[in-house]
Point group: C4
Chain length 273, copies 4
């Protein structure tokens, strides 16, 4: 009984707004610490203090996670956001410790706890992720176009311009760069200078890739708009149905009066008979 | 009584269309003067005349503001536009005078009085500002991505390419440049030439940043469209409700006739009884 | 009478589909001639033939315009498209002749007759032009931002990087380039290398300019969508009103039957009295 | 009879999901083989095995096509997708064989069989192609602008900057590059350095081209949105019509009761007469 009660109280605690704001504050302090640690001049002068603040924020995270684990029990693991919180904090205690380069870098992911802790950020991230499946087919189309063009470019232009098209990997990166429209003319220039007909290949690629990317963007926009429109439409249908319902009610009420009039008439006749 | 009357008359004056057009004209002349003052050759030849015109426009601004202050009294300060007008004119009289470099530059903000004085510009600026809150969460997401990637890039690539990723500040600027899609391949080239696996980092960053920026743009577009749609929908609902109302009225009128017919019938029976 | 008849017949002629297609064909041939004339090697070999074809197409244009002028009379000048057709053909006979460089170049505008002659192109051009007023205020906002930033940049950075910000004209071009997102980091690099705080100026400018351009684009898109939506909505209202009308008609017909029933009842009672 | 039966069975086979998944798997293996063949180091070591796998996948394609040809008979040729499948496989057996360079490259098109085989990709490709006619007029407008500006630029700037505007072909490529916004300032710099008034030409071109491309994109987006909106609207009209129908039914039912009441009244009177 006492364990249950303590759990319930802990749940009230970890869900209290002031607790959430405290955690958000600690995440921001932690983010600042991680930023300051990249500056050598700062670390030379205030290194000890900065590291101490960093360890304190980490301790707060551990306590917070322990409280939430205790409060929610095994249901804690049901939410992907909770798992994320656990993993980014656990990284700090991975074997090899914070000394190892990659793990040091991964500590920065703790800043992403802002996404899991601030409620409105969760909604935005969830909405962005929800839009991804709708782009699946068009994204696949773009990947197929990139792959086919990459193999072709490697075979056709690999010897002419090895820097941009020497291997399939390099070709794919070059074509991805062309797809983003960044400096594409300079990427293809060495090839087209040697083989003018290569312009046909690259023009076709630019037009196709732009068209597919445009449709990818439109797919995202249409989905976002559709969500808005559906709400608006549901509201409109509601308003209209209410107008029809009121009209129907008024007419049926009038009919009901008429029926009573006729019934009274009948009663009178009946009485007379 | 006379003060009140003078105030009322002054208000009529400063709100008169011809007065507004006069002020707009003076703002444009002032803008031209500020532009001409950047040309040394022009100032050498016509410097005195140009400066004289500039001082005259400033005098007009002072008189105009004094009139509006007198006409509107303390309510003048309620509108942010008025405060803006006051500040940009007051800058010219700040201690240090127009000699100080920064204040000289800030004088150019007087051209922005076009935004506060032309009514349609006010509406547009207000609409643009009104759209900002709707982008808040997604803009925050972009800033978090930039910060996390900036710290990571500084730790991972700071030694490889100090020009682009040497300090957190430089990294953030480089990644902002990558986000705008400007010349990003050249920014990352030194790093990826040294560490080919860095492509994974930058590709992920480009895709994520592009996706978030796209959603930022879509959020603005959806809000703008929603405003239009809501007006259109309200209009549609009105038209349909009117159709339903007319139909209801016709039916109820017909029912009313029927009731009178039945009432006449009843009267006849009653008369007979 | 005969003049009138000839006019009517000429109008039938110039409006006949085969005549329009002929003119379109001649415009395309003329476009090809103008393109071929830019090639020196072609003109050396086939110069006489090409020039002969060019003169023939010009003759066809003159005859066509004369026919249309005769057919439509003074009403010819009412349509801006007709005036455009007249001017681009008349250019060839301007004093100075086709020898003068500028007039030679302006002859190319004759290709634009495709826009005035092909009906679907006219519609598209008219639609594009119709969208311009809706962007007016936002475009003005962009121009004001460019001007204010241009004057500021010239005063602040004119001495640091004269190539990009030396005079107001050069500054405006540089900032326009930054607005289009083309190579902006390289434009601002010399300035920010000398004065790191200049980043604040340019970041603010990039964000503001991008935001205004985005809203400019959205304004165009919203207008285009609104046209579609209005048609769709009108259709929907029509369908709904028809449903309501049918419902009303059915109910009123039923009521009318009922009235006859009651009237028959009354007639029976009356007959009995 | 047996041929017919065998045909029917073959059709069941080639349309079975497991068969389709098998073909998709073979296409992916074939794509991997084509990619690996671009790597010389891989081919030196595993060349024989890779080529063997490639030949096997080709054999599977041939068998699959033969089965589908047998199953569907002459109707096979009705679908453009089937013709596409046949052609990309047939390329491997073209005279000159896989030795010829161009044919080697065209083999990569076999990867595009993913588009014809995966059903959802077919839908996407069909949707993208269906959007093209709606952009026809605006795309033509862009081409006309490019052609006219290309001829003009060649005549005006051909001698100043032969690298970018020497011939009509080179001018068109340069202007296409300017249209995509890639490095446009550097393309026009040599010309504008020599002839400052050329800025007017290029600024006008950039603004016009951007505006037309924007409208091209909007046309695609509006069409995509319109498809969604039409579905949504049809749904809305259905819901509202149902509300009206239900209202009408309720009123008519009530009226029917009333009629029976009146009929009963009449029957009573009639009985009395």
């Amino acid at each position: 009984m006492t364990v249950r009660e303590t759990r319930a109280r802990t749940r009230v605690l970890v869900e209290a707004p002031w607790f959430q704001w405290l955690v958000i504050g600690v995440i921001l302090v932690n983010a600042a610490v991680l930023g300051l640690e990249t500056s050598e001049s700062w670390m030379e002068e205030y290194g000890d203090a900065t590291r101490a603040v960093g360890r304190t924020t980490l301790a707060v995270f551990v306590v917070e996670l322990a409280l939430r684990l205790f409060a929610e029990g095994w249901r804690f693991w049901r939410s992907a956001w909770n798992v994320f919180d656990f993993v980014v904090v656990a990284i700090a205690f991975a074997p090899g410790g914070s000394a190892s380069g990659v793990l040091r870098v991964l500590r920065v992911l703790r800043v992403l706890r802002l996404l899991s802790t601030v409620r409105s950020m969760r909604t935005v991230v969830a909405a962005l992720i929800a839009t991804i499946p709708g782009m699946g087919s068009i994204a696949a189309l773009l990947l197929i176009l990139l792959y086919v063009s990459g193999v072709m470019a490697t075979e056709l232009f690999g010897d002419i311009d090895p820097e941009h098209f020497g291997t399939l990997g390099v070709s794919l990166l070059s074509l991805f760069q062309v797809t983003t429209g960044d400096d594409w003319a300079n990427v293809v220039r060495p090839t087209t200078d040697a083989e003018p007909w290569a312009w046909a290949f690259f023009l076709l690629f630019v037009v196709l890739a732009t068209y597919i990317v445009l449709n990818l963007f439109i797919a995202v926009a249409v989905e976002a708009l559709d969500r808005e429109t559906e709400e608006d439409n549901a509201e409109m249908v509601d308003e209209m149905e209410q107008a029809v319902d009121e009209s129907t009610a008024a007419i049926l009420a009038s009919l009901s009066e008429l029926k009573q009039q006729v019934a009274a008439l009948e009663a009178r006749l009946e009485a007379r008979d």
